[in-house]
Amino acid sequence: MKRNKFFSPALMLEGIKQTKVVGICFAIVSILLSCYFPFLKIMESSANYWKSDVIMDLGSFVLPIFVLQYLMPIVVVFVLFNFMNSRKASDFYHSIPLSKTCIYVTYTIVALLWSLAVILVSTFLSYILYSFAPEIIINSEFIWTTIISSFILAMLITSITLVAKGLSGTLFTNIIITLIIMFLPRIIILLYTSAVNAAVKITDVSFMSFADIYNNIIFAPFTTNQFMYGYIKQETLPISNASTLWYSAILAIIYFVIGFFINKFRKSESAGKSAAYKGVQPVVRILLGSIPLLLISTNLACGLNVSVEFWFIGIVISLLAYFLYELITTKNAKKLLTAIPFYLIAILVNAIFVVACVGEKNFILNDIPEPSEISSVSISNYIDYSNAINIDDNYYKYKAEDVKFNDKELIDILQSSLVDTVEKVKESNFDELTRDNYMPYDVIIHCSSGRDIKRTIYVNINKYNGSSKPSLDSYLYKNQEYMDILFSLPTDKELKSIKIDSSNMDFSKDELNELWKTYKEEFNSASDKNKSILSYRDNSGNYDNIYGINNITNIKVTGYVGMNNFSQHYLVNANITPKTYSKLINKTMSKLIKDNIIDTVKKNESDAAYFRLDFSDLKNTNNNFILEYYNDNIGDDDLMMSPSVDGTLKRYNVNYSDSGIDKKYIPELRKISNIIINAISDNVDVEKDNLIQCSLSTNVNFEYSYDDDRISGYSLNSQSETVYVNITDEQYDEINNILSKCSKHTNYVDTEN
């Protein structure tokens, strides 16, 4: 019978048996976490008087499942491949009729199976538990995102641990080398790029786009500090990016293959030794000694002064790391003497780092092509960026990179501006460039030789036309390709997600697609000027009332242009995109009705002891109306303020402002809320001309803190919903009558009218 050289099912079962204690422990922890977080969310949502839908975000969902995969693969691989640390165990595995390849592949599969099992159990358990809270809405895509991202993390960490296990033969060195492989390359890349970027200032040295920290799934979650709190929304969570997943999966495969060869050539007699191969011991020692020095080197490379204390601390930590590692692993003080000369290599590594940083800085600053050498330029960031939201990952920025301008005058302006910019950087006068008369442009210079150079060029506005805008605009607007991009929307292929900004309402994928379809039609038929307004690129757009009644909200779309992840906001405006506007409002209203939100509001109103009425600008441009109910069951003096009225009834030129209304008028004031509530109930299909926007707030969402089962404190976490109401003239007059009766008021003269 010919045996499979790469895989043994029987050994796999043995491996599973050997790791069942560890696997089951992790499964239990995972199950507990999977129950704990949904339980918290369910408790949180049950405390919500609104009983409105709570849209679950990916961050909260994935976190308890994802974090476990940082540790689990390491422990499982350590247990499975523990034989590599013991001579007798290693001899046994080398003598049995299974090749090293077979053991390596089979045990790796065992480790991955455990991870996958734990991920699947936790993911589906979480999903099932969340389903017990009907008001919590989870996108079913979360399941696959969670499973795939967590599994790729497990793959990467498993492979790294396998490499570390192959290179070393004791638990201590296993751990140290695992950590080094996991973190050190990223730390070096990060320090190098940040040192060069800080020194150069006019380019971003992401010298290899795959080296971007967002790409590595181990680091990606920590690129946003919100990760640990689970507040990250789906579209901004880096671990769900395709580029992150692909990069990390490929990296995992590379490490797996490296581990395979290391394991294949590893000798049985290496078991129990700190290093399995000659050279590993000094290399690890040198790396450990180099890391603390790198922090000094980075500062030196940036051109910063390094204080004596910093030098001292860095060198002491470096020496400690270097010699302690040697002492712990060899347990032989004499070896320290032989290790002394090698410490110079750690210093040399740092010297090379500094030289490389300075060399790259000088290269970048001296790399200025002559105008004759430039065939064309691309300008990525100049799209009236001053008004653009999220300029960093703006859709148009990435699209514009593909447009090539070859006007000679434009090239001349940018080339001479680059010379000026570089001179300022060299003279350490960079601050001058950040003043108002300079405008930064992200430019890709396409040289005739085929080389591309990416620079941020500061153009002196005064120098070229003296107006508030550089004359570069005319070159840009002359280019039809550029203009087409400017007035386009992301294509369906480029889109990854659509979301209604600033809405707690959950819209299904179909509803969002339908809204986007309507929006696209309206956008495409709008004038160029209006397109600019809708995509936040026009200075003259009125964004003061961005969440007001005309500019009701944004549609936020995310997706990819090539490997770049973009996030772009589009305004929903009552005048420019009326169909989208109506659809959005009606959908929101019908959902509110469906979810009995009005009943909840009524109930709150009847329970409330105090309330606050803020009708600032009611029925004028913004039409904001805030009604807040304070429940008297809470018993907090600070919250038990007197009812207050604040606002302007513009139609009557009356300004109401009273924070101390007599309590006897409370029933009267309640009538106002009744008017609003009745208006909401009566008018589901709203007409935009009669709309007011009413923010109904209650103090229902309290977070209590307990001390020996006694409530010792709480904090207010105001929950509000925005609803849209048709309000008739009669109702409006009635509100004014009530306010006139119960509040002191001053005449208000509308200067605009």
């Binding site: 043994s8 013991s86 007798k88 165990a89 080398h94 049995i96 009729p97 299974l98 090749s99 049985s268």
Partner: protein, 310 residues
């Protein structure tokens, strides 16, 4: 057949085996003797594919051993330092061996467990040193491989168990034409077990020979004659005397040659006493090595003294 050709193995600066050549025929019990550090365990680890030779080649049935699943399926190795998985019981270990060896027999396993009287459900970690060795032997013999390698296997076994293990090995040799390679630092251990013996010293083979030949080619003659005689009486008649001692009229001689012919020659002198006494393997080794210029004590005595002290 196991063949080692010019095998050299180094550990850093230490040469464990140097240019070793050896052939182990099938169907025999092959003994490797030598002091600690002679290279016995290293040699066994080389022929079991645990170590890769730095120079030379090792083949089993003309197949290289290193990283060769098929070749490895033909042998099982019981090392001097035994390995069992954590929380292992004999039952669990049998499953692991079954996962690795295609001829593993649970029937034989149960029979052996019964013979050794071990509890297969009990944790091996709680076994005594001898019981652990028995457990390893049970697993190994259940694999029913063509070759069996035992490194210092009889260490820690009581005489009863030694005999049981030896008998089981004999059974395997007889019934399945298996080949066993056994190492020991004690000659007495292998004396009644092996067909072939090889003496290793400082990483090289001092000599190898068939045990039966060794024992029959050398013999001790105790003789007394009614005349005054000395060694010359023997040598002048063409007898190869390796050692001659005379107390009174009785002499003890170690002789190499044809036993019957020597008796016939000496009977012609009308001896009062003429007895052929068997030689222990140790005695044979002393004289054989003496002839080769080695001192037996240099290789064995110190080790055995250490054993006795223990």
């Amino acid at each position: 057949m196991i063949k080692a050709e010019n095998v050299t193995k180094k550990f850093d600066d230490f040469i464990a085996l140097k240019n070793m050549n050896c052939e182990i025929p099938e169907g025999c019990i092959y003994g490797l003797v030598g002091s600690n550090g002679a290279g016995k365990s290293t040699f066994l680890r080389l022929i079991t594919g645990i170590y890769k030779p730095d120079e030379g080649a090792i083949t089993i049935d003309e197949k290289p051993v290193w990283e060769n699943q098929e070749a490895k399926n033909n042998f099982v190795f019981v090392p001097d330092e035994l390995y069992f998985t954590s929380q292992a019981t004999l039952n669990k270990m049998s499953k692991l061996y079954n996962a690795c060896y295609k001829n593993f027999s649970f029937e034989r396993f149960e029979m052996l467990v019964d013979k050794f009287g071990l509890d297969p459900k009990k944790r091996i970690a709680s076994f005594s040193k001898g019981m652990k060795r028995q457990a390893a032997i049970i697993c190994a013999l259940s694999c029913q491989t063509k070759y069996l390698f035992f490194d210092e296997t009889f260490d820690g076994l009581d005489p009863v168990m030694r005999n049981l293990v030896k008998n089981l090995i004999f059974d395997d040799i007889c019934e399945r034409q298996a080949t066993a390679v056994i190492t020991s630092h004690s000659l007495r251990e292998l004396e009644d077990t092996c067909d072939q013996l090889t003496l290793l010293h400082k990483g090289g083979i001092v000599f190898e020979s068939d045990v039966q030949n060794l024992k029959t080619s050398l013999f001790k003659i105790q003789a007394a004659f009614n005349m005054n005689y000395d060694k010359k009486l023997f040598t002048d008649n063409g007898i190869n005397v390796l050692d001659f001692k005379k107390t009174g009229v009785v002499s003890n001689s170690i002789i190499r040659g044809d036993k019957d012919k020597v008796i016939e020659i000496l009977s012609g002198f009308n001896p009062i006493i003429l007895d052929v006494l068997p030689l222990s393997l140790e005695e044979v080794f002393i004289f054989e090595m003496g002839e080769m210029g080695y001192k037996f004590e240099d290789i064995f005595e110190k080790e055995e003294e250490k054993d006795e002290k223990k």
